[in-house]
């Protein structure tokens, strides 16, 4: 049980990283969503074995109860990542409206500085010796 959960965590994370390294925004966002799921599942895995719900009054012996803390943490993390992914999708839509493209753009200022550097290098190599 726990092994398969751990395996799913690993696979989700790997797929997430692969998508994150793509150039199109929609894939990057999907990759981040998958990595978020993987992290939340990991929180569940580290909570140990499955067991009864930890509600006072229904608890029998101590060791049959599931650890409730990681569940609470995972719940919080799920809500947060849900909100942020929704914001990111809105941002990606705005980007698509503005550029009519799904690709991540290069930084103009960076490109300009790089061009300056290259021009400088060319001048230096072709200088009169």
């Amino acid at each position: 049980m726990s092994f398969f959960s751990a395996l799913i965590v690993a696979v989700l994370f790997a797929v997430g990283v692969y998508l994150l390294l793509q150039r199109t925004l929609s894939r990057i966002i999907l990759g981040l969503a998958l990595m978020g799921h993987s992290a939340n599942l990991l929180l569940m895995v580290v909570g140990g074995r499955a067991g009864k719900s930890a509600i006072i009054g229904t608890i029998g012996s101590q060791d049959t109860v599931a650890d409730p803390l990681p569940q609470a943490l995972a719940l919080t993390a799920i809500v947060i990542s849900f909100g942020i992914i929704a914001f990111l999708l809105a941002l990606a839509y705005r980007s698509w409206v503005l550029t009519e493209d799904d690709e991540v753009e290069d930084d103009l200022e960076d490109a300009r500085i790089a061009q300056l550097g290259e021009a400088e290098m060319r001048r230096w190599w072709s200088r009169p010796k």
Partner: protein, 497 residues
């Protein structure tokens, strides 16, 4: 007394809710925001006095006992960070109110700004690793909105980089928390301090390095800094200023807190020193290559983070005290530099060194403000940057880390060089932009900026001068903060009872 710990988080959140209700009443929003932040500054001052007199303060939320419930805890380090960041946040708010267009057509500016303040305050006061993650997310979610506010094309592009890299860091943070929980069964930092010490050495190193990577992305240390100079400069100036002053420092705060409380060391940490060296050098070289005020200053954020990590890496009371003082000086100075840049942009419409020029004749006040803040950043005595750097350098010399100290001195010179580059480009010389030259030749000798914007910048530069003036007492407090960080027994005892 313990209500003091809760107010910096609750007041801004409450005010944010009220500001949303007053959606279209800009003046009511302003009064709410100003009132809340002034109250928080006063509260932070009381908190500093309380910590100074009675030691570490803490409160258990919902009265759940320590390892299970959420702990808020303020020691000297947190109290110092809290007061200086709240003062900075307040002056930037005044600046934003004064700037035409900063909050007028943005009904969400005030609520989101207040939420970000609450997040920053929570990161400084929380004593719980998972709650630190929540604090980060509150801060970041608000900052995502602030950095893309306006929705211009370059904002969306750089905002996207910012959101993606921070979301990635947050995901890694959750993974790190899961591992910490798997190894120890707790997320309370005071409790972790004892339990991590019992783990095998390899596990400790793995957790320590993983959390260092997570916070390193947020704090923009080498080699995880590349997103910062790319994304900060495109936002509105008050937003860039407050990000530059605060958000990376929250990352540095977390590095210091976790490395001293959870993974204490008794000798200089080589990996931190190497990261610090590269952060300083690459930051300052990046700054020298740039030709725009905002981008130069953004690279300097990275460079100055190196000094903070350097002081921590020495793992001595003197080194950490230097770091605490350096962060305390850096938050207002960095913000003030961006605010003066905003004044230049407001009066000329540009921050490119090639387009602006001769500002010293037309706005002598802005020139003076920039000069004070820039010299303080470069560490010229008797300004506050000098005291911070001196503390770190003395600590480094007494620890025998001569190589890294040499690097930091060279970086200091290069910092001065790039500040002079801005000075020569923007304040001396003549403008290339014909419209600006025309304005000057037609006798319009002074370019006006709104009074509130100037006032807020003057106030913040005044704060940096006050830090220099009261350097002695503040350094004493920093030393006490460092002692508390390196010997956290009082902190642990207060939290666990």
């Amino acid at each position: 007394m313990s209500v003091l710990l809760v107010l910096p988080i609750v007041l801004p959140l409450l005010a944010a809710a009220l500001a949303i209700i007053a959606y279209n009443q800009r003046n009511i929003q302003r009064i709410i925001a100003l009132g809340a932040l002034i109250a928080v500054v006063i509260d932070a001052a009381f908190l500093l006095v309380a910590v100074e007199r009675n030691g570490v303060q803490s409160i258990q939320m919902g009265a759940w006992a320590a390892p299970i419930g959420i702990t808020l805890v303020v020691d000297m380090f947190s109290a110092l960070m809290l007061i200086i960041s709240m003062v900075t946040v307040l002056s930037v708010l005044v600046y934003a109110i004064g700037q035409p267009g900063a909050d007028q057509d943005q009904p969400v500016f005030h609520p989101v700004y207040l939420v970000m303040t609450a997040g920053v305050a929570l990161s400084f006061t929380t004593g719980d690793l998972f709650n630190l993650f929540v604090a980060y997310e509150i801060t970041l979610a608000a900052s995502y909105v602030l950095i893309t506010l306006g929705g211009r094309r370059e904002q969306i592009r750089s905002g996207m980089t910012y959101v993606i890299i921070n979301l990635l860091a947050s995901t890694l943070f959750v993974v790190g928390i899961a591992w910490v929980y798997a190894a120890t069964g707790t997320v309370n930092m005071a409790d972790l301090s004892g339990k991590i010490a019992q783990l095998p050495g390899g596990t400790q190193t793995a957790l320590s390095m993983f959390l260092l990577v997570v916070f390193g992305i947020k704090a923009a240390i080498f080699p995880l800094f590349f997103w910062l100079p790319d994304s900060y400069p495109t936002a509105r100036m008050p937003v860039t200023a407050v990000f530059a002053g605060l958000l990376t420092k929250v990352g540095v705060y977390s590095i210091i807190r976790t490395q001293t409380l959870l993974f204490p060391q008794h000798k200089p940490s080589t990996i931190l020193l190497i990261c610090a060296g590269f952060t300083m050098v690459i930051g300052v070289l990046g700054a020298i290559a740039q030709n725009d005020m905002k981008r130069i200053l953004s690279f300097h954020i990275v460079s100055q983070i190196g000094y903070m990590i350097l002081g921590l890496g020495l793992f001595s009371v003197a080194g950490v005290a230097g770091t605490v003082f350096f962060i305390f000086h850096q938050i207002p100075v960095k913000t003030a530099l961006f605010l003066t840049t905003g004044l230049v942009e407001e009066s000329t419409g540009s921050t490119a060194l090639s387009k602006v020029g001769g500002m010293i004749r037309r706005t002598p006040l802005v020139a003076a403000l920039f000069l004070l803040a820039a010299l303080s950043l470069a560490g010229i005595p008797p300004l506050s940057g000098f005291v911070g750097k001196l503390g770190i350098i003395q600590a480094g010399l007494s620890a025998g880390e001569y190589a890294i100290i040499g690097v930091s001195l060279v970086v200091s010179l290069l910092t001065l060089f790039s500040m002079i580059k801005i000075w020569n480009g923007v304040f001396l010389g003549t403008a290339e932009d014909p419209t600006l030259r025309l304005a000057a030749s037609e006798g319009e000798t002074r370019l006006a900026t709104p009074l509130l914007m100037r006032g807020a910048t003057v106030a913040l530069v005044g704060v940096t001068l006050a830090v220099a003036l009261f350097a002695g007492p503040i350094f004493d407090l920093s030393e006490r903060a460092a002692q508390g960080l390196l010997d956290p027994s009082a902190y642990i005892e207060k939290v666990l009872g």
